[in-house]
């Protein structure tokens, strides 16, 4: 288990929306994909969605699978609608310059370490 705050620090993330209770909430699983249907297949709880897709549908998908937050990779910036929606759904929204691979590798080692 790791936290959104730890991940944010590890990947030097920009924190667009970060809810205080979520910041320390435990992330147990990761769904990493640019195709939202693949995220929707996940059945785990306490997820972080890692993706390069910066549309509102990313936030809606994360909301549907009860994820705690979304991490945008490859230096993608969230569209304004995403930030609004993340706020409404109470989801953390981070972005990093790191690639999908680097991000996943870093989060994986954080998850293993703890």
């Amino acid at each position: 288990m790791t936290t959104i705050k730890t991940i944010s620090g590890e990947l030097s993330c920009t924190e667009h929306i970060i809810n205080r209770s979520f910041a320390i909430a435990g992330i147990e699983h990761i769904a990493a994909s640019d195709l939202m249907s693949e995220v929707l297949v996940a059945e785990e709880e306490n997820m972080l969605v890692i993706t390069a897709l910066n549309t509102e549908q990313t936030i809606r998908t994360a909301h549907i699978v009860d994820a705690l937050g979304v991490l945008l990779v490859n230096g993608k910036k969230p569209q304004p609608g995403m930030i609004r929606l993340a706020e409404e759904f109470d989801l953390a929204l981070l972005s990093t310059k790191e690639s999908m691979f680097e991000s996943c590798a870093a989060v994986h080692s954080l998850l293993k370490r703890s």
Partner: protein, 311 residues
């Protein structure tokens, strides 16, 4: 911003109306039996054709490519100047404003608002002339779909009074290619179920099913609707669209099969998981499809001991 005379994009435009004007393509409503002329015929020939056909304007075409428009006005000018033996090419208006067949009807309405022309040539993606569009075509289309839509709304309104089927009915219009609003139905139903303390896993199943069905209609259909009935014991989701239908249902239900384009993939969908996902989360799944449309009915049971508190 200048206020438009035709009020199609007001903030409060009902979804059904948006669906009527955005959910249909120009190719569905244009006239395709177009009388066109070649640039070398004379204005005298044009006069005869217009008079005989009762037309007030014709496209001028060279090897299927549109090169101009000739109108009654051009004809009158030629007549006045005694130039009736000139070729059409000398009198036609060049570089006409055109529409493309894949554009939504809302574009055409905008064009009639922005330009004073009475007709627009319609081109396909190869820039060939495939039809003409007049205000009359739009009126005919609007009346047709209005009849159908209002009829359907009336049916739903009647349905809504019968409480034995469900205690709550929600209806959402889904517009073709409208990724912006896709997901609103699932978010709203999710919130509703959360308020009634339905089991989280069940809510997730319902939200996933509705979401995939919404995306499916946005991506693959000409538009449609999602109707949700929530009772004490189950949630029923009915997704019906106006076509073009699923060619091979068995394939559509197998994981990884997709007919999505690169554009759809760039929007994060088209993994070929949509319908399989819906089927996976539902207790009952029924599908019918023809070229007139696809209807999918999904039921998700609410746990008996933990069913929705008085919805």
């Amino acid at each position: 911003m200048i206020k438009k005379l035709i009020p199609v994009y007001e903030n409060q435009t009902p979804l059904v109306v948006l669906e009527l004007i955005q959910g249909h393509k120009i190719s569905e409503i244009m006239s395709t039996n177009v009388i066109s002329v070649t640039p070398d015929i004379t204005m005298r020939d044009v006069k005869k054709m217009m008079k005989d056909g009762g037309i007030s304007g014709m496209p001028v075409v060279r090897q299927r490519r549109l090169i101009g428009i000739i109108s009654v006005e051009d004809l009158l000018n030629a007549l006045e100047d005694g130039l009736m033996d000139d070729s059409v090419e000398k009198h036609m208006s060049r570089n006409p404003v055109i529409l493309e067949e894949q554009m939504p009807v809302s574009f055409a309405i905008d064009y009639f608002e922005n330009y004073s022309y009475n007709r627009f040539p319609v081109l396909n993606e190869n820039k060939e002339l495939v039809g003409m569009l007049t205000g009359r075509d739009i009126i005919m289309h609007m009346v047709k779909v209005m009849n159908r839509e209002i009829g359907r709304l009336e049916e739903i309104a009647r349905y809504g009074h019968h409480t034995e089927i469900g205690n709550v009915i929600r209806r959402y219009a889904v517009v073709q290619n409208d990724f912006k609003n896709a997901g609103k139905a699932s978010s709203e139903v999710k919130t509703l179920l959360q308020e009634h303390k339905v089991d989280r896993k069940v809510i997730r199943a319902v939200a996933t099913a509705i979401y995939e069905l919404e995306i499916n209609q946005v991506v693959h259909s000409l538009g449609g609707e999602i109707v949700c009935r929530i009772s004490d014991h189950y949630v029923e989701v009915l997704a019906r669209d106006r076509g073009p239908g699923i060619e091979d249902i068995e394939k559509a239900l197998s994981e990884g099969f997709s007919t999505a384009t690169d554009w759809i993939r760039s929007m994060g969908f088209g993994a070929g998981m949509g319908l399989p996902n819906v089927k996976r989360v539902s207790d009952d799944f029924q599908i019918q499809s023809s070229t007139a449309g696809t209807e999918i009915k999904v039921t998700i049971n609410l746990p008996v001991d933990n069913s929705a508190e008085k919805i």
